[in-house]
């Protein structure tokens, strides 16, 4: 332990004498946070979708006696996609060149079909294959759903108007034809007048009709709520509680933390161990002064300290950004000590992996290059969604990145994080031991 402490102090002193490196180490996490934010913003950007109106939809449309704004409903989709009105030719060209990712077409006859209530009108979606295709498809489905809901409301209102006519009587229109009806209440009045007439057989029939009219009136009085309830059995109410922006989401913070310390720790560890060889001191050290295992352990501890330092800078910067954004308070100040512990363990795992790479590369410059070349795919593996690429997720489990992401996410935001923290810490400790052991074996390559 004495040798480890002495070499650790030596490395920290060496780091402090490279101001450009220290500045880079401090700025790097902030740069990563910025880049992650930009990527997140790009991901949240609305894709451009062409909109071709072949039927010249009027501003307002009367369906079943109800007026509603078709364009208004269509444009609701603009909260999620950038809807650009185009001609047929422009839309085809834009789709071909990639200027738009999809085209929504309103075919000729759409409005007349809508008004007729006989044939279902259709919207056409032309879509390219690509990363955003699924998102546009979902948005268009949401658009059709919204249109259907508005139409459904209009149809229900129209039906309710017919029911009112049946109940109260009056003048109405159906399929363009006007009509007058007496209604149940009018029928009740007429039946009351007939009841006073002498024929007992007719009176009995009148009483029977009166009973029917009363029950029909009672039943139809409840029909409005029933119609709406069967049309929309469940409604979703959205409570806005100051949602956090994507940039400041827990997942992005966890990724930013893990990404920063993954790249830096692997790089520092790989270059650090190879530098011992480049400085030609390995032979002097291993002549009984320091054991190879101690040298590996020292680099792992050094990198764990670097991870804690850089990770805390990034976490505090993100926490401050959340507070400044004011949408919600950073719920994790109390978890900062726990996060520091997590950063240390994750840093140690990345450090052990980096030392292994350094022993394989042997020279500092080669080690730095190998560290970057290997770290990037490891990080990308961890970014792949588990449900879609299962083998990648299994492979990713063999490296520290995915575990670090889950650890940080749980540490920062889970209400009850202990099970996840315990599992991921065990994984990271196991990976530290495995990579550290392999690095210890690899040290012989450095001595050769």
């Amino acid at each position: 332990m004495r040798a480890v402490r002495l070499l650790l102090l030596k490395d920290l002193r060496t780091l402090s004498r490279a101001p450009a490196l220290v500045v880079a180490l401090v700025l790097y996490p902030l740069l990563i946070a910025l880049l992650v934010g930009l990527v997140a913003r790009f991901a949240a950007d609305r894709p451009r979708v062409g909109f071709v109106d072949r039927d010249q939809i009027p501003e307002t449309l009367v369906v079943g006696g109800q007026r509603f704004d078709v364009n208004g409903v269509i444009e609701q989709v603009e909260t999620e996609v950038d809807l650009v009105r185009m001609t047929d030719g422009e839309a085809s060209e834009a789709l071909r060149t990639g200027d738009t990712v999809a085209t929504i077409i309103v075919p000729r006859g759409f409005v007349s079909r809508l008004r007729s209530l006989v044939r279902r009108p259709e919207l056409v979606l032309r879509i390219t294959r690509g990363g955003l295709a699924g998102r546009v498809e979902r948005q268009t489905e949401a658009l059709v759903y919204n249109l259907n809901r508005r139409l459904q409301d209009a149809y229900i209102d129209a039906n309710l108007e017919y029911l009112r006519l049946i109940r109260e009587g009056g003048r109405g229109t159906f399929l363009g034809n006007d009509f007058d009806i007496v209604g149940l209440e009018g029928a009740q009045r007429i039946l009351a007048e007939l009841e006073g007439q002498g024929d007992p057989a007719a009176r009995a029939q009148v009483e029977e009709l009166q009973t029917f009219v009363r029950e029909a009136l009672l039943a139809l009085g409840q029909s409005g709520e029933t119609l709406r309830a069967t049309a929309n059995p469940i409604t979703l109410r959205l409570d806005d509680e100051g949602r956090r922006s994507w940039l400041l989401s827990a997942q992005v913070q966890a990724y930013a933390l893990a990404l920063t310390i993954a790249l830096l720790c692997i790089l520092v560890a790989a270059a650090g161990i190879a530098a011992e060889r480049d400085e030609n001191v390995l032979g002097r050290l291993t002549r009984g002064l320091v054991r190879l295992g101690e040298l590996v352990a020292e680099k792992i501890v050094l990198v764990a300290l670097v991870a804690v330092g850089l990770g805390m800078i990034l976490a505090l910067a993100l926490g401050a950004a959340i507070e400044l954004a004011g949408s919600t308070s950073f719920a994790s100040w109390g978890r900062v000590p726990l996060l520091a512990g997590g950063l240390a363990i994750a840093g140690a795992a990345f450090g052990a992996f980096g030392v292994l790479l350094g022993t394989l590369a042997r020279e500092t410059r080669a080690a730095a290059l190998v560290a970057i070349l290997v770290a990037l795919p490891v990080v990308l593996l961890g970014l792949l969604p588990e449900v879609s690429v299962a083998p990648a997720a299994w492979l990713s489990d063999a490296f520290p990145f995915a575990h670090a992401v889950r650890l940080f996410e749980s540490t920062l935001y889970d209400a009850d994080p202990w099970a996840t923290i315990g599992r991921e810490l065990a994984w990271l400790a196991g990976l530290t031991a495995a990579f550290g052991g392999a690095a210890r074996l690899g040290m012989r390559r450095l001595l050769a």
């Binding site: 060496t14 490279a18 001191v281 032979g283 002097r284 002549r287 002064l289 320091v290 001595l447």
Partner: protein, 226 residues
Amino acid sequence: MAARADNEPLLSARGVARRYGSQEALAPTDLDVRAGETLALVGPNGAGKSTLLAILAGALEPTAGRVEQGAGAPRVGWVPQRPAQYGRLTARENLVLFARLEGIEDVPGTVARLLELVDLAQPDRPAVLLSAGNQQRLNIALSLLADPDVLLLDEPTAALDPGQRRRLWSLVDVVRERGGAVVFATQNLDEVEHHAGAVAVLQAGRLVFLGPFAEYERSPAAEIFA
């Protein structure tokens, strides 16, 4: 340094060999380093001199054979051909670090004594900024930290000025006269002639001659180096 009888083996190489893949850097070699002896290790470039010295120093593991230590576990100092020190640390910090790793009790006193002994100018400059000669002085000072019984020097005078060379050879004499031993690799025939009591000649990884300097002069092995 413990008092030792002359000719007592301090370090013994027993069939030590070193291979790098399919290439044999050093064939199985037997060699005794005896108390009071100054042994010159000579041979062309790539003959295996540095490999043998590193193996004797314990800095390189032989792929075959072993190195045996004499009675009393003699301490070994090693001056590698290329300075072995941390470039971003100053000369003084290098000495302090290695003195602490050696477990020396009086670190400041030992460091001050060695700085004076090798006459190292600018001890508080980062080692990487020192001249090649001063880096070699630091390299030598580091090897003397443990007060060695056996001093292994790999072409130690290459970067030294004449004054420093004289100082180095007087250090060598001190170690030898105290009952220690010195093994030095060199390409300089004058150094062999003036300082070596015995000579070992390596050629293509094989020990082709080992004996007193007088015998060496008369042997065919002298032609290799001439």
